[in-house]
């Protein structure tokens, strides 16, 4: 087991100063979660669900209020030094970089903080720069990089210590589609290398594509842990129909919700019968490309959590 979290609770006190006196906020509320070695595990949940708080505790920069968390068998409080040897952190956005260093210098600096001897650090920095397509820019200042390139420097930095567990906290925030596709490929490679990956994201498609299992969390509690397919099956009797049309089907009995994305209409219905009614209606109106489709992770997410906090 790479990550074992038991009954983990973390509260914060709102307010400023040495001893804040504000209300107590519960970020994690008795969260229990196991992530087996070599799994790509997604953490899904609305803003404020406690995803980042969990990542922080696992990376030892935050102490739990109660409960326990282990990384590769090492307790994050008692054996923080051991945990730090094995964990890599990547968060989204542009922070966490020194603008006045080059990409290569950045990696060499962090390599030293990971206790990697110079000769090995040199080789490893070169390999990572090549792997992330930064070789041409390796000796340019990070501040001159585009957002996507900075993100790749972040990824390289997170991998410099050869971590067994990698924590990604919303890594694709602000990535363009090409970068996001490359990122998904990278996740696959990292798994093939035997690493364990915990990734928080808002992007359901991404989670569905890269994750072996996902955990839905809300208000610091686990709602469900399942494979994306298994989770989708949890959405009960609902059936979905997709069609390339702009027809209005909301009047058909049994239609719960409709949504149009990239010209594709997606209809949520209460059950098989309602789905058939929608199919028939669309076919009758000459719509050719009509499918009954399995639920997506996003559908389940919306079922369980609602539309709260979907906006990044």
């Amino acid at each position: 087991m790479s990550v074992r979290v038991q009954n983990l609770t973390r509260t914060f006190r709102k307010g400023k100063g040495w001893r804040p006196k504000g209300d107590e906020v519960t970020a994690l509320d008795g969260l229990t979660l196991d992530v087996p070695t070599n799994e790509v595990h997604g953490l899904l949940g609305p803003n404020g669900a406690g995803k980042t708080t969990l990542c922080k505790i696992l990376s030892t920069i935050l102490l739990p209020t109660s409960g326990s968390a282990e990384v590769l068998g090492h307790d994050v409080v008692a054996d923080a030094a051991q945990v730090r040897q094995h964990v890599g952190i990547v968060f989204g956005g542009e922070r966490g970089l020194y603008g006045k260093l080059t990409a290569r210098q950045t990696l060499r600096y962090w390599a030293s903080l990971h206790k990697i001897p110079d000769a090995r650090a040199k080789v490893r920095a070169g390999e990572l720069l090549a792997r992330l397509g930064l070789t041409d820019k390796a000796d340019d200042l990070v501040e001159t990089f585009s957002r996507g390139m900075k993100q790749r420097v972040h990824l390289a930095r997170g991998l410099i210590g050869d971590p067994k567990l990698i924590l990604f906290d919303e890594p694709t925030t602000g990535m363009d589609p090409v970068a996001a596709r490359d990122f998904r490929k990278l996740i696959g490679e990292l798994r093939d290398e035997g690493r364990t990956i915990l990734i928080t994201t808002h992007d359901m498609d991404e989670a569905e594509e890269v994750c072996d299992r996902v955990t839905l969390i809300d208000k610091g509690r686990v709602l469900a842990t399942e494979s994306p397919r298994g989770l989708a099956a949890m959405s009960g009797l609902h059936r979905w129909v997709e069609a390339e049309t702009s027809l209005d089907v909301t009047a058909i009995p049994g239609v719960v919700d409709t949504e149009t994305r990239n010209g594709v209409l997606r209809v949520k219905t209460t059950d098989d019968q309602a789905a058939r009614a929608v199919l028939d209606f669309l076919l009758d109106h000459g719509v050719r490309s009509v499918h009954a489709v399995p639920p997506r992770l996003e559908d389940v997410y919306l079922d369980l959590i609602g539309r709260r906090g979907m906006e990044v």
Partner: protein, 264 residues
């Protein structure tokens, strides 16, 4: 130990790169160095106005050494810099000690300070008629370096507290520096202060080192020079020890109350 030295080395390389992005030799000489030289001259001129060469000697030597302290304590700002660049969390989560990383980061500033004081020591005394015992005066820059190191440890210690109170960084820097300027025998002999304050000055950096330099220039007893220099080293080590403990405590506190942010 080798791991720590490597962190120190790469911290030094990184801080050199960042420092030289802001300062070139020319800008350093014409803005920073000249500003510090003018400061030392200003105090020496006060000595001249007071009308005695003895005052000029005292004030010039004191300020030639003291100008290094600004640079040596700039390390106080760097801890907050880590928060601003969003690297603090990464530093804490890295296997190596964060203290070493900070130490490496401020060394370039220390170098700048020692270089400025040394330049002042070579250039200013002839202008103000201050006589130095050449060629043995050539070891004074080494003594300045020792004082610099202990001021640096003192700065690191203050920095560890500022880690918990980022908004107090400028106040902390200015106060730390002013305390050294005022109480450590730069402009006023420490004997001027009441006994209890003198006791305090004896645990501040610079007090003993400056006394050693003054004794050396006055061609005083070698034993006095060595004892004072030894005390300066002890004071530096003590500040370093307090810094190490307090850094650890501040990071622990940050982990406890959640002030170490990803990207902040």
């Amino acid at each position: 130990m080798r791991d720590q030295l490597r962190v120190l080395k790469h911290g030094l390389i990184a801080s050199w790169t960042m420092y030289s992005a802001f300062q070139t030799w020319k800008t350093w000489t014409f803005t920073w160095l000249s500003r510090l030289l003018i400061q030392a001259c200003f105090y020496a001129l006060i000595g001249r106005m007071l009308g005695s060469q003895q005052q000029v000697d005292y004030l010039l030597i004191g300020n030639v050494v003291a100008i290094m302290a600004i640079d040596a304590t700039v390390v106080i700002l760097l801890t907050v810099g880590e928060r601003q660049s969003g690297t603090l969390a990464l530093m804490v989560a890295a296997p190596s000690t964060h203290l070493t990383a900070y130490l490496g980061r401020g060394l370039v500033n220390l170098g700048s300070g020692v270089a400025a004081s040394t330049t002042a020591f070579l250039v200013l005394p002839p202008l103000f008629g201050v006589r130095l015992p050449w060629p043995s005066a050539a070891v004074v820059p080494l003594m300045i370096f020792v004082v610099g190191l202990s001021c640096y440890c003192y700065g690191t210690c203050v920095a560890s507290f500022v880690l918990g109170f980022p908004s107090a960084r400028w106040l902390a820097l200015n106060l730390s520096y002013l305390v050294l300027m005022t109480f450590c025998g730069v402009n006023v002999p420490t004997s001027f202060w009441p006994d209890w304050l003198r006791a305090v000055t004896s645990v501040l950096p610079m007090t003993h080192g400056l006394a050693a330099i003054r004794a050396f220039i006055a061609e005083g007893q070698a034993s006095t020079v060595l004892v004072q220099l030894g005390l300066e080293v002890c004071v530096g080590v003590a500040w370093f020890a307090v810094a190490a403990v307090s850094f650890d405590r501040m990071v622990r506190r940050g982990r406890r109350d959640g002030t170490i942010e990803f990207g902040g």
